[in-house]
């Protein structure tokens, strides 16, 4: 994972003045729409916070709920899944499966004590670069307000 931590997470830097909490967000972006949008947002010099570590997947339906859970278990504060709009999936029906999975996953994670804003599903087409930047900015702020998740503190030590 790219090192985007600041004082909140790395004790070595605590000697500096207290810096605001920078959340770590993992973004699973589909190759055909949302990743293309992130690419174009970059070439268009659009500004958005650097807190999202992007992982490119071929389709948003490739995102197994286990990936999301593992991301949280290993230190992510939020997870973003983005794909093509419903009806526009390159693989015809992939994003309908994503819609069902992420919706059920959100319900399951609520029972594990997760706030709803920590996991977000968005449909961003290749041209919607402003939406991409808006989603990232909005999600970063929301997760920043929720604070660090630090999942492992729940069971370590016993």
């Amino acid at each position: 994972m790219a090192d985007i931590t600041t004082a909140e997470k790395s004790p070595a830097k605590l000697t500096k003045e207290v810096v605001r909490f920078e959340p770590r967000i993992i973004g699973f972006l589909c190759w055909w729409c949302s990743y293309a949008a992130s690419d174009m947002a970059g070439t268009s010099r659009l500004k958005y916070p650097p807190n999202v570590s992007i992982i490119r997947v071929m389709c948003s339906s490739r995102v197994d709920p286990a990936f999301v859970m593992r991301a949280f278990a290993e230190g992510a504060d939020g997870v973003l899944i983005a794909g093509c709009h419903l009806g526009e999936c390159h693989y015809v029906s992939g994003n309908y499966k994503t819609a069902a999975r992420i919706s059920l996953l959100k319900k399951t994670l609520a029972q594990f004590g997760f706030e709803d804003d920590r996991i977000r599903l968005e449909w961003i087409s290749a041209g919607e670069i402003r939406k991409f930047s808006k989603v990232i900015t909005d999600m970063t702020e929301k997760v920043r307000n929720l604070g660090p998740l630090n999942w492992r503190e729940n069971f370590e030590p016993k």
Binding site: R101, S103, T108, Q111
Partner: protein, 331 residues
């Protein structure tokens, strides 16, 4: 079966378990006589009186095969797990609880204090005006009395000690138990860390029911299953069945009796988190291309976490409900 030169020394121990695993050992029927002729029992608290001091007196690696059932819930189970690891050549996690947490690990959806509140104060049959709760140490007439410490989180056996083999099931079916015993006695054991006695595919692979690619309109709750079609896949009939995410080996016995699979054999080969795979499977079988309909069907699934992690809470990435921060929101 060929007789080994010397009788095997066999042990069975229970930690946080219901005793069903001990009873399931007898499900192998008259074959128990073969086991008796091949092995001596050196520890089995369910059927005979053994003291911990007797076990401590055994030399290291004295027990040939140790069947450990039950999850690790308190400090006593942890201590005995370490002791039995020392005294055993082969340590086997027997049954869902020791392999993946099982039913006791559903307590991971609550905190220790919530469990104590319910058990010692709130339950309808409890009268406890002095609000007495168990303590780990108590002094009475100069004698010090101790109780094991109750943990916040239920763990599986392999979180505590190295485990050689795993036998899944709640309880393991008799063919699973027997094929594991055969493998042990014949010495033809797979690499350490393997699952023995069960299959490597999913329950769907053993299930005789047929998939007809029907669209699922809604999921039913258990009291709504009225005479499901005996030929068709239960999932397609709107009955949540964990078959797709569960290891084979039980010969789909629940499904053959008209009840859906609850997932007691744990995740399939090379999978860690069974519940996540089930969420994934539900997403795949819906076959709907209408966003609102998908949302409606998903909204009707009650208690997804308890359903998909019924036996595998200690074998999941998240392991328990969040303790810090989210407590107030849960109430």
């Amino acid at each position: 079966m060929e007789q080994p030169k010397e009788k095997l020394k066999l042990g069975v121990y229970w930690a946080a378990s219901c005793g069903g695993c001990d009873i399931s050992m007898l499900e192998i029927g008259e074959k128990i006589l073969t086991v008796d002729s091949l092995a001596d029992i050196v520890l089995w608290p369910c059927i005979a009186d053994f003291k911990y001091k007797d076990v401590k007196a055994y030399p290291d690696k004295y027990i040939d095969v140790m069947f450990f059932n039950g999850a690790i819930r308190n400090s006593e189970a942890e201590e005995i797990a370490h002791l039995l690891r020392e005294k055993s050549k082969i340590l086997i996690a027997y049954g869902s609880c020791s392999y993946e947490g099982g039913i006791p690990a559903l307590a991971n959806f609550y905190s220790k204090q919530e469990i104590f509140d319910r058990a010692y104060h709130e339950s309808q049959s409890t009268v406890n005006p002095d609000r007495i709760e168990p303590k780990t140490k108590h002094t009475e007439n100069g004698y010090e009395l101790y109780l094991p410490e109750f943990w916040e989180t239920v763990r599986k056996l392999s979180d505590i000690v190295d485990v050689d083999y795993f036998i899944p099931g709640c309880p393991p079916a008799e063919n699973t138990t027997w094929s594991a015993i055969e493998a042990i006695v014949s010495g033809q054991l797979p690499p350490v860390g393997s699952i023995i006695g069960a299959g490597n595919k999913s329950v769907c692979d053993e299930c005789p029911r047929e998939r007809k690619e029907t669209k699922i309109k809604r999921f039913k709750r258990p009291h709504e299953y009225v005479a499901p079609d005996p030929e068709q896949c239960l999932l397609e009939q709107g009955i949540i069945c964990l078959g797709p995410a569960t290891r084979s080996g039980c010969e789909a016995r629940c499904i053959n009796s008209g009840m859906p699979c609850r997932g007691c054999y744990g995740p399939c080969a090379d999978v860690y988190d069974q519940g996540a795979k089930m969420i994934s499977a539900i997403g795949s079988v819906l076959e709907s291309e209408d966003g609102e309909e998908i949302q409606r069907v998903i909204d009707e699934i009650m208690d997804p976490a308890g359903l998909f992690y019924r036996f595998s809470m200690s074998h999941s990435y998240l392991l328990r409900r969040r303790l810090v921060g989210a407590k107030e929101e849960m109430k």
